[in-house]
Amino acid sequence: MTPASPETPHGLSFGHELPPEDSAAPSKGTIRVLQLYPRDMNIYGDWGNALVLAQRLRWHGYTPELLEYNVGDEFPTGVDLIVGGGGQDSGQLVIQDDLLSRETVLKELAEDGTPMLVICGLYQLFGKFFKTRTGSVIPGIGILDVETQGTDERLIGNVSVASPEFGTVLGYENHSGQTTLGPGVTPLGTTAKGTGNNSSDGQEGARYRNIVASYLHGSLLPKNPALADFLIKTAVERKYGSFTPGTPDDSFAVLAREHAARRPR
């Protein structure tokens, strides 16, 4: 068993940290994972996605380097993988201007094929715009050809998505923005349970280059290891040419998926 982290004198901590590394095997390489706005856009377990990427990188034999980018920070260089989450309306207001000021660097990384996972709020802001219920338009950074309209209807509940790339994707949605995809993106999949992007077309999420955008929390990656491994494999291949997977034990993930799939909406 791993000893308690030495950085936390009483074994107590409230900030999120990676568990200590306990592998003696030589690393196959280092992958820099950037969390976008973890301070303001973290409302539905978004740490879970960053933790899963970091731990699975280790289980595959690589060394994760977890970075954070918050409002006003210098944008780090050498980023291999980006993950960003959802916020409340207030959190989105806080990051909005800063995100627009980072449009160029994020667009370059996206067009260059950097794998990215954007959930909920950042999915919307990676799109062209978010039009609020009252009609004001919040510009997005336009990496994704999607538009979002705020509504009074809140879409809440368990979701199951049939994805051509990743099989069944399971998660939980909680949003009032309704997103419509343009011709520049494809959906992540079609919903078998739940609503997804909007209440009319039965699609969920968006795919563009190596970006996966989705409304699903849960957190998304823990119960969808295929998706996590796609992001990891892509990041490693871009950096090192090829990816040699390890053998993560996904038996709990398989059982958690089975039980989650049987839960009511």
Binding site: M1, F14, G15, E17, Y44, G48, G157, S176, A256
Partner: protein, 434 residues
């Protein structure tokens, strides 16, 4: 109509109890046939109505306020059945009024769920309210925490006498700005607060991502608090009020419960202060030291001669505080996670809790409808897992059978806790010790 509503409601209440039904039906009946019943009855109370709301700690805090006021010789009406919604209050009232609808009490102290509190205060503007915190709880029900803060703000706006606010929760403290205080019509605002040294143990959701050990960002000038929790010891605590610090023994466990004691003390002082006959401070302190945890809130039972503690966990902040308040060393640990409506259906919250404190001893048993979500969460925090069984009765039996020589602790969501209590009463002798 008026003359029949109370006897009829009482009859429905008795019948629905005989049938083992919930507390809502009689409330519904009286609400339908006599919509003014609750407002009319509560308006007769000389010291008015106090509403306690917020995400975490309502039940224990309400219990404390009631016991504090009773120590001052006041007769208190409260919704003890845990029916923290409007119809539940009406049902509880039916049980207490006489056949003519009269309530023999000086003051009502009511625990109300945030959303239901809004309906309640629209019908019955309270003289006092105590707003505890806004945490990430059951977001699938209320949408967002800012929305929850708006609900609490509405409760404060309807309050006619004194609004008691948590100075350390920015979303709650900010409610003061929205009130027309100082004007003749606006309520008075009082705060309860924490010593700076304890702030780091109470992260709000905005500070949650700050690195451990990093300094808490300098807060804007804080208003003076009526009661400040200065120190928490193993079985005692220091509170500061009226310019002096007093130490008192505490039966309550858990630092968050003891912070809520500061909240209860602030409200009780406001109410007894308004009575005009003075406050028996020694009596208040004695009552405070004798308050025992409410049902399932850090409650300690005895199984096989050793303690078994039930710790209710409803949201990330509560779970983190629970892990901090009840150190794992020497205990066998079980975690029971259900995802019924009352628990919250979204499992994302488990990923906002760090489980590193369980790494040394591991977790002996996992159960509940989402036991495997919990197993997956622990796997990613490198916490060893003994066994997983979604069936609560089987898991509980295995847990107790497998750790007979150790004190035990079960972290459980609300409906899992109800199931566990039912099972405990079947498979072993359960003695409630506090």
């Amino acid at each position: 109509m008026l003359y029949f509503s109370v006897p009829l409601g009482k009859l429905v209440r008795r019948v629905s109890r005989l049938r083992g039904g919930g507390s809502a039906l009689p409330g519904l009946v009286v609400e339908k046939i006599d919509p003014g019943f609750m407002q009319r009855t509560l308006s007769t109370l000389p010291l008015g109505v106090a509403v306690v709301s917020g995400t975490n700690g309502k039940t224990t805090t309400t219990k404390m306020v009631v016991e504090l006021l009773e120590s001052q010789g006041l007769k208190v009406f409260t919704n003890r059945t845990g029916s923290n919604f409007t119809r539940g209050v009406a049902a509880a009232l039916l049980g207490e009024v006489d056949m003519l609808g009269r309530l023999d009490a000086d003051v009502a102290v009511l625990e109300l769920d945030e959303a239901h509190a809004v309906h309640f205060v629209n019908k019955v503007p309270p003289r006092y309210c105590l707003l505890l915190n806004v945490l990430r709880d059951q977001l699938d029900r209320f949408g967002e925490i800012d929305k929850t803060a708006e609900l609490l703000q509405h409760i404060a706006a309807k309050t006619t006498g004194t609004v008691v606010l948590n100075r350390e929760d920015p979303r709650v403290a900010r409610i003061a700005d929205s009130l027309s205080t100082g004007s003749l019509s606006g309520p008075e605002v009082r705060y309860f607060g924490l010593d700076d040294s304890l702030l780091s143990t109470f992260p709000n959701d905005d500070e949650m991502r700050a690195a451990p050990g990093s300094p808490v960002p300098p807060a804007p000038a804080k208003p003076a608090a009526d009661v400040v929790l200065r120190r928490v010891g193993a079985d005692d605590a220091d509170f500061e009020y009226d310019g002096a610090t007093v130490s008192t023994a505490m039966k309550l466990r858990g630092v968050y419960n003891i912070f809520n004691a500061a909240a209860a003390l602030t409200l009780a002082r406001a109410i007894t202060g308004a009575r005009g006959t003075g406050t028996d401070h020694a009596g208040l302190l004695t009552a405070l030291s004798n308050v025992a945890p409410a049902f399932g809130r850090g409650e300690s039972l005895v199984v096989d001669g050793l303690p078994l503690e039930l710790v209710l966990v409803k949201n990330p902040s509560g779970f983190r505080l629970g892990l901090k308040s009840f150190p794992a060393a020497g205990y066998a640990t079980m975690i029971a996670i259900n995802d019924n409506y009352a628990d919250g259906r979204d499992m994302s919250w488990l990923w906002d809790v760090e489980f590193d404190t369980l790494r040394d001893g591991g977790v002996d048993q996992l159960t509940g409808s989402r036991a495997y979500d919990m197993a997956l969460r622990l796997q990613y925090d490198d916490v060893a897992i003994g066994a997983v069984d979604t069936d609560i009765s089987a898991a509980l039996a295995a847990f107790i059978g497998g750790s007979r020589d150790k004190p035990k602790r079960i972290f459980c969501t609300y409906t899992a806790m109800l199931a566990i209590r039912r099972e405990l009463s079947k498979i072993t002798t359960v003695e409630v010790v506090s």
